[in-house]
Amino acid sequence: MRMSITAMAGAAVLALANIQPAAAADCGRVTIADMNWASAEFAAYIDKIILETGYGCEVELVPGDTMPTSTSMMEKSEPDIAPELWINAARTALDRAVAEGRLIYAAEILKDGGVEGWWIPEYLAAEHPEIKTVEDALKRKDLFKNPEDPDRGAFYGCPAGWNCQLTTANLFRAYKGEEMGFELIDPGSAAGLDGSISKAYERKQPWIGYYWAPTWILGKYPMVKLDFAVPHDKEHWNSCTALAECDNPKMNSWPKSEVYTVVTPRFAKSSPEGMAYLKKRGWSNKVANEVLAYMSDNQYTGEDGARYFLEKYPELWKNWVSADVAAKVKKAL
Amino acid sequence: MAKIEIENVYKIFGDNPEAALARAMAGEGKDEIHSDTGHTVGLHDITLSMEESKTFVVMGLSGSGKSTLIRHINRLIEPTAGRIVVDGVDVLTLNDADLRQFRRTKMAMVFQRFGLFPHRTVIHNVAYGLEMQGVEKRHRQDKAAEWIETVGLAGYENSYPSQLSGGMQQRVGLARALCGDPEVLLMDEAFSALDPLIRSGMQDQLIELQEKLHKTIVFITHDLDEALKLGDKIAILKDGRLSQVGKPEEILLEPADDYVAAFVRDVNRARVLTVDVVMRPPSLRLTTENIDAALREMQGHRDDFGYVFDGDDFRGVITERHLRRAATTNGNSSVYDLADDSQTVTADSVLEEALPTILQSDTPVAVVNNDGEFRGVVSKRELIRVLTEHREEPDEAAQEPKRTGP
């Protein structure tokens, strides 16, 4: 689903063009890409706060998006840090840049990676412990009743036009959703999909469908990912599951999307302590979801999210830095 | 009892009429109240009584309250104070349903700008009143067709109002009002929007219809000629107050104030006044057949002519000179035969028609009614006075000077 967002970042390129190369002696000035989605936003602010208060860097956030930011980092070494870069979107170019030493993968910021899958609400999973796998769920069209056609079940797919629409549709066929009496519903938009979840959740109704993490939705409305019962078959995925023309889809599961913090070699060289911090820094989707839900609930910015994280999860971030740095950061909060 | 009684009606336009009403009742003028309170006095203490089967005309300049007054009669406007009684029923006491029933059956209205339903054909416009009365469709169509024919629009039944000329549209308006057979016809400047020729045609048609129908008609106009032509009685409004109420000739000959006088100044009296208005009793009635007796009588009188009667029968007019000549030539002929009855005018003809006869005659001309009965005489001098001297009281008319002999 990130791919759809990358399409709309022309403005970010312009913004990047204006940045002066930083004189990055002794940490000095550091630029961090502030991506235009919420999880990357609060990550950027966490880095900003820690690098500024803990390491005395002078941090500037610059707006960014996957493609323009990674291109700019490869070609112009600007900005210094992309805290949350979804590798799949530009894998070949990034891999080559890393191989050529123009970029460095610092660490996986999302330990679980970006996760896509089919989910049911936590309360439903608790109520129906027998539903563990996709196949279990698809046996229960009576449970996931379609309000517009009570004889059938409703499966909320991925909005039309997104890449996940193809994969969801193919997997739906592979797992015989239609034959099991389900209708694959196109929610039309992320808003529609989110709305269907929050409506179900507020009223504790059954729900099954596509979603991804980390997201505020999964933080606010905890859900359980259904097991596809087969490991990711990359070859079939690339030759069928992910394509519009997939005549005979087989059972498969989503790969995990790798999400890395990427830095320029210049930063790694000029600020080895900062680099050490970034190599350790990262969190699980559960934490990310939680922070995102907190942000969304209060309509907070990334900065508020970062402060919330730093206050709520000290045991997590204190492991990333030395004790005195931790004290400095703590004091500054 | 009168058909319609309007008693001490006040109408104040505005949000808080009560306060302004008190001032109006205290006698303050319309302009004063308007500039102080922003309220408009539409009607100020109007009391009128309208006779059954008569045409009552309300006249006044624009803004004088004519439309306001007529709309009180069917309660399209509610008075601020006062009573309106129609056929002994206080209209203001009617509830909604009764009021609708009252409007459906008792009265119908003809409007200055016709007020036709543009989306209905002529026949459906005319049948509207009956439709409101709940008359069954076929019956009301038949009735409407009759009325369309009566007003001379046969063949236009299925036209829409916009396809008709103004005059034709107002005929539709008239037919629509009459079709429900109302007792009272309210006509608010019904003919004002028409050009003079069509207008006078419509007036004639109304008079003709009224001769057959004998409706009680309340007719609004700001045109005195029209008022005089149609009205049995005329009320004149000024700034919401009644200036004068009376018969047409009273208005014309005895205007109550300058406002009325200004109204009547430009009226062509010769066309409006009838002979009976200027006629008076003959100064000398001769009832003898004998010439000498007649001569004697005449010599004892200031006039040198007399009107000869055989009992109640009017035989004609005779002058002193004529009598003398007859006495010398043919002493025993009858005065009855000598009297000249060739020059008479009828009492209800307008002065304009009687004018040539009267002017050509040496003596005041005898006035007779339609059956030939003697009513009085009308003199040249009296006639000229009435036609020229507007503000003089007819009673103070100067005496006809005694004719001097040759």
Binding site: S4, A7, P147, E148, D149, Y156, P159, A160, G161, W162, I185, D186, P187, G188, S189, A191, G192, L193, G195, S196, S198, K199, A200, E202, R203, D297, N298, Q299 | N74, L76, L99, R100, F102, R103, R104, T105, M107, A108, M109, F111, R113, F114, G115, L116, F117, P118, H119, R120, Y128, G129, M132, Q133, S159, Y160, P161, S162, Q163, S165, G180, L186
Partner: protein, 297 residues
């Protein structure tokens, strides 16, 4: 001086107060949705069944029959052969380009929206024309409905009713109903006072005035309102598809996200074609029931 700070900086509510306010509004709405959402869904259920039934009717009927019915509607409304042939051509073209199903779905939802807008909108317009108070209170509501960005009310509608046809119709109607209401109100208020007075003078009651005089004479305005409502509903088709309403909006949305130019163009043109058909036919109908207006002196 701390005291005069408010002169320079706007004395806004503190962030915490604002947040509290937002949270409590959100929470109230959630509470409402929890307590009444189901009742609302039940309330709208008949509408849902009708829409499903109508859509299936259009989808399952043979295409030539549907075209024949639409064409005869167009002919009956307009009494114009040229227009009827145009309508047939438009629908044939839509079929040939493979957009028949989506078009039928869109036609069905637009039809339902239009009917509902008329059934709800005209009485409201009548009420506004009759009571100044109603006009004063409803007009700003209409302003809000027309200017509020659709997404703002899409979210609560979806929270209450989920995604699909009913919330779609509600979203479309919120956006598209104001013209019918406004123009009904306006049309009735513009009815010639003299004509109305004449009806009164002949003892017409409220119903006779309304149905015999006011509505017929307000018809050109009302029809203009209906026409605008249809157009605006069609414009909302794409937005409605964002909450899962099937039809021509979905491919358009897909085309937007993926920049499929030709796909967007075809489906967009199909929407335009439906719009033109609805527009011309409803205008011709409005014109035809106004016979008395066509005859001049």
């Amino acid at each position: 001086m701390a005291d005069s700070n408010w002169l320079i900086e706007f004395p806004a509510l503190s962030r915490d107060t604002l947040r509290l306010l937002q949270r409590s509004i959100d929470e109230t709405f959630r509470e409402f949705s929890r307590s009444y959402g189901q009742a609302l869904e039940d309330f709208f259920e008949p509408l849902l069944w009708f829409m499903i039934w109508f859509e299936r009717l259009l989808l399952n009927a043979p295409w030539w029959l549907v075209i024949a019915v639409i064409a005869s509607c167009a002919y009956l409304a307009s009494r114009n052969w040229k227009m009827t042939i145009g309508v047939i051509a438009a629908f044939l073209a839509i079929g040939i380009f493979g957009m028949w199903e989506d078009t039928m779905r869109t036609v069905s939802i637009i039809t339902v929206c239009t009917l509902l807008a008329i059934v709800i909108g005209i009485p409201i317009g009548v009420m506004m024309a009759r009571y100044d108070r109603a006009q004063a209170t409803i007009t700003p509501v209409l302003d809000v409905m027309q200017t509020m960005p659709s997404f703002v009310y899409l979210i609560p509608v979806v929270m209450l009713l989920g995604i699909g046809r009913v919330p779609g119709v509600i979203a479309v109607i919120i956006y598209a109903i104001p013209p019918v209401i406004r123009l009904t109100n306006l049309g009735i208020r513009l009815v010639d006072k003299d004509v109305l007075e004449a009806a009164n003078a002949f003892g017409a009651d409220f119903k006779q005035r309304l149905f015999g005089v006011q509505i017929p004479l307000a018809m050109p305005n009302i029809m203009a309102g209906v026409n605008q409502t249809i157009m605006m509903s069609l414009a909302m088709v794409v937005i409605a598809s964002m909450i899962g309403v099937k039809g021509l909006g979905q491919p358009v949305l897909k085309a937007i996200t993926n920049q499929y130019f030709s796909m967007g163009l075809f489906n967009g043109l199909a929407i335009v074609a439906i719009a033109i058909v609805f527009d011309r036919v409803s205008q011709a109908y409005g014109h035809r029931i106004q016979k008395h207006r066509q005859v001049g002196h």
